[in-house]
């Protein structure tokens, strides 16, 4: 086991999948000689050549639409969207085409593709380099939506995503790219299955549900709370869609209190679905209101530092929410 960063784990996953299956290729803006603006594809162009690590025109619709076509032909594209904020020009191809192709052809055509995009704030990116976009896709049957929170999962889930016969939206918490480090087996291949959420900290008093960067903070907040005698369970949702109701409800059965955390805007965010699931199927287990802690309902994360900090959920805010809920 060696300790590597999130972005290195992602790079390794693509490297290994490119080596394993020559149908796999990468397409996106600046993924070639530049190695990606976050260096996620660094060295891959040199290793696999221009055709398998392909600079696209500056057009997200092209990246995804061509990806869908290549997948129909029998390739396994990994489409990189430079920032999640720039995925909207491709929205039609994702929602009308990739997600519905299998169903609408009654199983004739599959679209095995991955759409990778760095998401999230706290990096000084302002309104258009900080967005969380997962909730637009966790409502679209036919898609899978995955968000890893640590290098081990990032690598294992991305490898599973590449092998999945369905279109997988793979959102990467960009603030964690270099910040979050973790152990990853060195000489041993592994994958992490798409689907199950994971209890990453056992506890009795309440459960915090989170993903991506917020999961990282949730673990830190749980440690703080532990010092104050609050025993917090933490669940890393990891695969947001389809939702893992079982793991969620099992944890609520145990702790009877739920706090859902994401950095995306509150209203209509993914947390609403988790809360609704609990309110519908875990109602009898509940000892307290289902709480959500999320970004405020303003258009996006502002640039200027004080305003950014005001927007962002962080360890302190989570710890406060834990205290409140524990005291209920």
């Amino acid at each position: 086991m060696t300790e590597i960063t999130m972005v290195e784990a992602i790079r390794q996953a693509m490297d290994e999948e490119l080596a394993r299956d020559d149908r796999v290729f990468i397409i996106g803006e600046d993924v070639g000689v530049r190695g990606g603006v976050f260096r996620a594809t660094q060295g891959l162009f040199e290793k696999y050549g221009e055709e398998r690590v392909m600079d696209s025109p500056l057009a997200e619709l092209t990246i995804v639409g061509v990806g869908v076509g290549a997948a129909l032909y029998g390739k396994r594209p990994i489409c990189e969207i430079q920032f999640a904020d720039f995925i909207y020009p491709a929205f039609n191809q994702i929602v009308s085409e990739a997600s519905k192709m299998y169903y609408r052809s009654n199983g004739q055509w599959t679209v095995p593709m991955v759409i990778r995009a760095p998401y999230g704030g706290g990096i000084g990116g302002g309104l258009y380099h900080s967005q969380s976009v997962e909730a637009f896709f966790t409502h679209v049957p036919g898609l899978k939506v995955v968000i890893p929170s640590n290098p081990y999962d990032a690598k294992g889930l991305l490898k599973s995503a590449v092998r999945d016969p369905n279109p997988v939206m793979f959102f990467e918490p960009k603030k964690g790219y270099r910040l979050i480090k973790g152990e990853v087996p060195e000489d041993q291949e592994y994958t992490v299955p798409i689907g199950p959420a994971k209890v990453t900290r056992e506890g009795q008093d309440l459960t915090v549900f989170a993903y991506g960067m917020m999961h990282h903070y949730a673990l830190q907040a749980a440690e703080k709370a532990a010092e104050e005698g609050i025993d917090v369970e933490v669940v890393d949702l990891r695969t947001l869609y389809p939702i893992d109701q079982e793991t969620i409800l099992k944890s609520v059965r145990k702790t009877s209190k739920a706090l859902i955390v994401h950095e995306d805007n509150l209203t209509g965010g993914y947390g609403a679905e988790v809360a609704a699931t609990i309110a519908e199927w875990g109602f009898k287990d509940l000892d307290a209101p289902v709480r959500r802690l999320a970004g405020p309902d303003v258009p996006a994360v502002p640039f200027s530092h004080p305003m950014q900090e005001w927007f962002m959920v962080n360890t302190e805010k989570i710890a406060n929410a834990i205290r409140d809920l524990a005291a209920f």
């Binding site: 290729f25 055709e51 696209s56 025109p57 057009a59 619709l61 092209t62 995804v64 639409g65 061509v66 990806g67 869908v68 076509g69 290549a70 997948a71 129909l72 032909y73 029998g74 390739k75 594209p77 039609n92 191809q93 009308s96 085409e97 519905k100 192709m101 299998y102 169903y103 609408r104 052809s105 009654n106 199983g107 004739q108 055509w109 599959t110 095995p112 049957p141 036919g142 899978k144 016969p165 369905n166």
Partner: protein
């Protein structure tokens, strides 16, 4: 190699069969037996001419909803089509999930398309990219209406194919209207073929009522693509002889005189007369074809009528694939 006389007759037969099938769909709609029809009437010459330029079982077709005669040429049976009109479980495109005329035929390399226009165009480029990557000599033919070339999606698809010199032929079926909106409100050029010059690939205009001219133009583009000389845009000019769909009433936006005028240039009439004139078909033979077409359509309606509807709960699947569908 020029088209043999046999081929030419076969092509005319395909036009004719599609036309009679298409007309029957309108009748079924008037009879209240089907809920919806969108028609290819007036576009058969261009469609059949174009699709005969690609190789069945090898090349790829990424069609749009008016391409009934292309589908017939590629092996969709009249019964298949009537089943889709009726929403029968066994219709091959979508198991009756999609509206009729939203085609797919996996075994014939005909890709499923949706209703949002122009979404198919980038797929064609993506397939072309796959072909180029594998060093195959396959070609992709994709079609679209002239109005739909207003979508950025079409521009991006053609641009990508031009940059990478992909083996794709972009055929624009210009029937002069997008529902009610005439070409002048879609573009400031006189033909979608003119758009090609701005993207760095050849743009060819052809008379869409002349089946063999369309064939020649598309064949040349296909040959170029196959050789590695890159994509082309071809616009075939024609006229939509029916309303946009069974939901449309075209009297609000075009005069009856205009429609009557173009009925005289109906490609079925044009091509029939051409074949007879050139001695490739006699009036007698034509009558036999008409009878054969009628019988084929009658049989299709009968068979499709007998076929079962899907059960409601069949709609629950297939949302996710367990395995990819490739060989």
């Amino acid at each position: 190699m020029p088209l043999s006389n046999e081929k030419k007759k076969e092509m005319f037969w395909t036009m004719l069969l599609s036309r009679r099938l298409d007309e029957r769909a309108w009748v079924l709609h008037r009879q209240g037996k089907i809920a919806f029809h969108i028609s290819g009437i007036g576009q058969e010459a261009a469609q059949v001419g174009a699709v005969y330029a690609i190789e069945k079982g090898k090349d790829w077709l990424v069609p749009y909803y008016r391409d009934l005669s292309m589908l017939i040429a590629m092996g969709m049976s009249p019964t298949d089509f009537v089943m889709s009109l009726m929403g029968k479980a066994q219709e091959p495109s979508s198991g009756a999930r999609q509206m009729p005329s939203h085609f797919s035929l996996r075994q014939a390399n005909i890709v499923s398309h949706s209703a949002p226009v122009a979404t198919q165009s980038p797929h064609a480029s993506g397939i072309g990219l796959g072909i180029k990557m594998d060093g195959k000599d396959e070609v992709v033919l994709t079609t679209i209406g002239e109005g739909s070339t207003s979508q950025g999606e079409w521009y991006e698809a053609v641009n990508f194919a031009a940059i990478h010199q992909l083996p794709v032929v972009f055929l624009v079926e210009n029937n002069r209207y997008a529902i009610s909106v005439p070409q002048e409100k879609q573009m400031a050029v006189s033909s979608a073929a003119d758009k090609a010059c701005g993207l760095g690939l050849p743009g060819i205009e052809v008379d869409g009522t002349q089946m063999f001219e369309v064939y020649d133009a598309v064949k040349e583009a296909v040959d170029n693509a196959r050789k590695g000389d890159g994509p082309s845009v071809i616009e075939a000019k024609m006229y939509r002889l029916t309303p946009h769909s069974s939901d449309d009433d075209d009297r609000s936006y075009r005069t009856r005189e205009e429609v009557e005028h173009f009925k005289k240039e109906d490609p079925i009439i044009v091509m029939k007369e051409q074949l007879i004139e050139q001695g490739l078909m006699t009036e007698e033979e034509y009558k036999t074809l008409e009878e054969k077409a009628k019988k084929s359509v009658d049989d299709a309606v009968e068979e499709a009528t007998r076929a079962p509807y899907p059960k409601g709960e069949e709609a629950a699947t297939p949302v996710y694939a367990e395995e990819e569908n490739h060989d």
